[in-house]
Symmetry: C2
Subunit: 243 residues, 2 copies
DNA sequence: GCCATTTCTAACCCGCGGGTCATAAACTGC
DNA sequence: GCAGTTTATGACCCGCGGGTTAGAAATGGC
């Protein structure tokens, strides 16, 4: 053996490519720009990948596998929960019973997990969303979105049957609200350098979605970070001023 | 004068181009595909437009002008409202006072109007969202989204000061929820043939955002269409079954 | 040092698609 | 029908960027 290959080359190429994809989309990214960004020549690219699409596909593959795992884990957890505890009823929600709280905790946990997964691939997520039209990856996120809407719609429908949620809005609308919210939050992450306070975000969203934006009857405690991961970006604290 | 120009040519080109943009994005759309789709030759395209970007820009310009008008109209209406009525207070929201209801009606009206505008350009909106990365139009919708989040954040913050909304969630999060929801709903419109029931959608969203998804204490009436525009797509009626 | 071997470079090829233009076609006025 | 004028065509040009490859560079084994 002779002339060992540059061990960082592949990693550097992937990193540079991800940046280029963000800048110009899958179609718009130029291989020469990618290689120049890490001091390599165009030819070097083809020592590691067949095409930029293949590279993108690899990273997307990793990402989607992780997401898939998350989705499956949630499904299992949720079905296990209902097997063990039976459906939530109106009184569970009204009185915030232990079962209800346990269910919420489960949802929070999985929402947080999904957000964290997306955080690590927020650049790719961004590109899938806004820069892969007309490529093989076209529609990937949007199909995922559709499936999630469907899932939430079905879940909402079951809740309706037991009076555990309001019945005066179409379930699809609720699905769009939840998924749209998380979708934008995920997209917004692509603008951040440091990870946000996931707990604050998820807890706030859950509170809003569950209880609405109108002032509650009970006294309010601030949604707070259990575990402030990294620098907190949305640390705005409410002043609770009231004239 | 001799040989009058085909009077539908320009319109046909625009229509065909919009379809192509949806299929392949701004970059991916090919001029020959556009012209062939309306039985014209490539050269004919350049009798009407300098480039596909110029064509796209024209339509985007129309769209953004309409949106701008809507945004400005809302701003004026809202400031006029607060000039006339003063800020909403906790009791307005709690008791659903006339002022509060008037304010809500205003918001509903403008949300509905914006959705209707987007409806007419839902294809363009879709392309701006997911198929204009790396072009001059890159980021247009996302900047709009950012501005809207900011607007809602500011408004929420004022509400907080008067106790007219919950104070235990960051205002940005609320902004992301509202804008994300409408963003996804707008995007979903690109999949529909016939216009949805705007009133049902907007009223349901308002109800959810204001009061949350948990079952309310008051008896629920179905959100209904005042004016069912066209075929209603999300007409699912709730069964209100409760075991 | 020198060969063998693998890595890496940069010049090259080539197809695709945007943009042009000589030419043909269509129409008006006479 | 003919001249004049505007519209439309499609062959052509050409640059850009993906992919290839001959050969240079680097390194290990001897």
């Amino acid at each position: 053996m002779a002339r060992p290959a540059d061990p960082n080359a592949q990693g550097a190429l992937i990193a540079a490519a991800r940046k280029e994809f963000v800048r110009a989309g899958v179609k718009g990214a130029r291989i020469e720009d990618i290689t120049h960004a890490c001091g390599l020549s165009k030819g070097a690219f083809y020592l590691h990948f067949d095409s930029k699409e293949e590279l993108f596909g690899q990273v997307v593959g990793e990402f989607m596998a992780l997401v898939q795992k998350r989705v499956k884990a949630r499904e299992e957890d949720i079905t296990a929960f209902f097997m063990r505890n039976g459906p939530l009823r109106e009184q569970d929600v009204r009185k915030k019973s232990a079962r209800h709280e346990a269910f919420l905790a489960l949802e929070v946990k999985h929402d947080r997990g999904l957000l964290e997964t997306i955080w690590n691939y927020r650049d790719i997520f961004d590109v899938l969303m806004r820069g892969s039209q007309g490529t093989a990856f076209d529609g990937l996120v949007w199909e995922m979105v559709q499936r999630e809407i469907e899932r939430i719609k079905d879940s909402f429908e079951i809740f309706k049957q037991y009076g555990a949620c309001r019945t005066d809005v179409p379930s699809e609308i609720f699905g769009s609200l939840v998924v749209g919210t998380y979708l934008l939050v995920a997209k917004q992450m692509s603008l951040l350098q440091a990870p946000p306070n996931f707990d604050l975000w998820v807890e706030s969203l859950h509170r809003l979605i569950r209880e609405g934006s109108a002032p509650p009857l009970q006294p309010q405690r601030q949604a707070k970070a259990r575990r402030a991961g990294g620098k907190v970006t949305m640390q705005r604290r409410n002043k609770r001023s009231r004239p």
